[in-house]
Amino acid sequence: MNFLLSYLIIAEIYALAAMSTNLLIGVTGIFSIAQGAIFGIGAYIVAIATLNDALPFPLAMLLAMVLCSLVNVAMALPSLRISGDYFVVTSLGMQFVLTAAFTNLTGITGGASGLPGVPPPVLFGIELDDSQSFIPLATLALVAGMICYWLVMRGPFGRLINAIREDELAVSAAGKNVLMAKVGVAALSGVYVGVAGGLYATFISFIDPSSCDIAASFLLLTMFVVGGARTLAGCLIGPALLMALPQILAVMPIPSAAAGPLRQIIYGALLIAFMLFRPQGIAGQKL
C-alpha cells in the first residue's frame, strides 16, 4: 500500500512538472530543455531553507516559486530575439551551467553528494513524514495546479499563448505584446516546476544534482511527448506511465550498470516512435 502511495505521490509531483513543461513547449512553443534544472532550483531552495531551519515549509515553497519564476523568465527573455531552434541552445547551455552550479557550489548545495536529511514538510504543526500523510499535500497541490491550468487555458491569456505558438508574427501584427505574454508564461511555468521541485525534495528527503541534470530534462520532455501536448489528461498520463517504467525494468534481468542507459534508450525510442507515429501523444493535441 505504501509502495502504491509513493508511486502516486511521485507521479503527482512529476505531473506538476509536466504541466510546467506543457505550458512552455506545448502551448507557447518555447522549447526549453532546462526544465530539469529549474526543478532542481526549486528542490534545492526548499531543501536548504528547511534543513537550516531558516524558513518554515510554506515560506520555503513560496520562495522556491518566486525564484524559479525569475530564473525561467530570465531564460525566456532571449527567446524573443532568437527563433525556436536557437532557444534550444540557450536552454541547453542554461541546463549545463546550472548543473555545474549544483555540483560545484559544495558549500551551499552539498556538491555531487547532494543534501541528505531534508526534513519533511510541517503544515499546521503536523509533520508529514510518511506517504500516507504526504499524499493529501501532493494531491492538493496537483488539483490546485490543474484548476489553475484549466482556468488559464480557458481565459484570454490562454488564447494568446496558443496563438503565439501558431503564428507569432500574426500575434505581433495584431498589436499584442508577445514579450509580456512569453514572460508571463515563463513565470507561470516556473511556479509549477518550483512547487514540484520543493515537494520532491521534502518527500524523498534528499536532493542531488542527478535528479535535476539533463537526463531529468529529457525525462520531463518524454513525459510531455508521451502524455500529449496541451491537455490536462496528457499531463497526468505521461508521468504515470513513465514513472511506472523504472518499476517494470527493476523486475527484469538486466545488469544494474546498464539499467540507467537502458531507461534513456527507452525514452529516446519513445520520443522517436511518438514523433513518427503519434506526435500528439496519447491524449494530446496536434504538436
Binding site: 541552445v89 507569432e168 511527448v225 525514452y267 529516446g268 514523433m275
Partner: protein, 288 residues
C-alpha cells in the same frame, strides 16, 4: 608558459570543434533540422575506432571504418527519420524532439554496450610528444590539428567547387525551387548527412584518442558547435570555424581564472552576452 600551452591546446581542440561546427552548419542550412544527434555521431566515431583498435586493428585502418559507420548512421537518421517527418510537413518542434530521441538512443546504446565511464585508448603513439618553442604537443594533438584543418579546407572546397556541393548550396538557398527544378533535395539531404557524419567521425576519433571517451560528451560538443555556428554567422563556414576556435580558446584559457568545471559557464556566458548585444546575422529566421 602555462598560458601559451593552454592557448595552443585551446587552438587545437578548437580546430576539432570547428569541424563539428562546420558540418553542423552545413546540415542546418541545408535541411533546416537542428540535428542534435550530430554530437552523438561524433561520439560514435570515437567508440568505433576505439573498439577496432582494441581488437588489434591499426588506427589508420580503424579510422576509415569509423567514417563509413558514421556516414551510414547519419544517412539512416536522415533517410528514415527526418525525411519521413518532413514529408508529413512536421513542425520544427517535432523534428527537434525526434533528433533528441536519436541522440538519446545512440549515446545510451554506447553507454550500455561500452560502459558509462570514461574510456581511454590503449595505443601508445598518440602520447609521444613533440616540443616546439617550449610548448609540448602530443602526437595526437598534431594529428588533430593537421586532420581538422585539412577537413575544414576540404568542406569549404567541397561546398564551393564540387557539383554536389553546389547542388547542396542551391537546396539550402531555396528548398522549394530545388524541388521544382529536380535537384532532388531529399536525396541531397541524405547525401549531406552521410558526408557530414562521416567527416565528423575523424575529430571524434582523434579527440577520443587525446582526451578519452565519454558516451555523453556529444551533447556538450554539439552545444559548443551550435554556439559557434550562430556566433560565426549562420551559413558562413569560415566564420563558424573561427568562432569555434575562439570559443575553445576561451574555454581552455578560462581555467587559469576559474575552476575547470565552470569553463562551460564561460562559453555560455559569452554566448548570452553575444545574443543580447550583437545578434546580427541571427535574424535569418526571426520567428519560429
Amino acid at each position: 608558459m602555462l598560458f601559451l600551452q593552454l592557448l595552443i591546446d585551446g587552438l587545437i581542440t578548437g580546430c576539432a570543434f570547428g569541424v563539428v561546427a562546420v558540418t553542423f552548419t552545413v546540415i542546418y542550412t541545408t535541411t533546416q533540422v537542428f540535428h542534435i544527434g550530430h554530437g552523438s555521431i561524433y561520439t560514435l566515431g570515437g567508440y568505433v575506432t576505439w573498439y577496432l583498435t582494441e581488437q588489434g586493428v591499426p588506427f589508420v585502418l580503424a579510422l576509415p571504418v569509423a567514417v563509413i559507420v558514421c556516414a551510414a548512421a547519419g544517412a539512416l537518421i536522415q533517410g528514415q527519420l527526418y525525411n519521413r517527418l518532413m514529408q508529413r510537413k512536421a513542425t520544427p518542434l517535432v523534428l527537434l524532439i525526434a533528433s533528441l530521441g536519436a541522440a538519446l538512443v545512440i549515446e545510451n546504446t554506447l553507454a550500455a554496450v561500452f560502459s558509462p565511464n570514461i574510456l581511454n585508448f590503449t595505443t601508445v603513439w598518440g602520447n609521444r610528444t613533440v616540443s616546439l618553442a617550449g610548448v609540448t604537443l602530443g602526437l595526437a594533438q598534431v594529428a588533430i590539428l593537421v586532420a581538422d584543418l585539412a577537413l575544414f579546407g576540404g568542406m569549404v572546397a567541397w561546398a564551393n567547387y564540387t557539383a554536389l556541393g553546389k547542388r547542396t548550396r542551391a537546396v539550402a538557398a531555396n528548398d522549394f525551387l530545388a524541388e521544382i527544378t529536380r535537384l532532388e533535395p531529399r536525396r541531397v539531404h541524405v547525401a549531406v548527412l552521410a558526408i557530414t557524419s562521416g567527416v565528423v567521425a575523424i575529430p571524434g576519433s582523434l579527440i577520443a584518442l587525446d582526451h578519452g571517451m565519454y558516451p555523453y560528451s556529444g551533447t556538450l560538443v554539439v552545444l559548443t558547435a551550435t554556439i559557434a555556428m550562430i556566433s560565426g554567422g549562420l551559413g558562413n563556414l569560415i566564420g563558424g570555424f573561427i568562432a569555434a576556435v575562439i570559443l575553445s580558446v576561451v574555454q581552455t584559457v578560462s581555467t587559469i581564472f576559474m575552476p575547470g568545471e565552470w569553463s562551460i559557464a564561460a562559453t555560455f556566458g559569452l554566448f548570452v552576452v553575444l545574443m543580447i548585444f550583437k545578434p546580427t546575422g541571427l535574424f535569418v529566421r526571426a520567428t519560429t
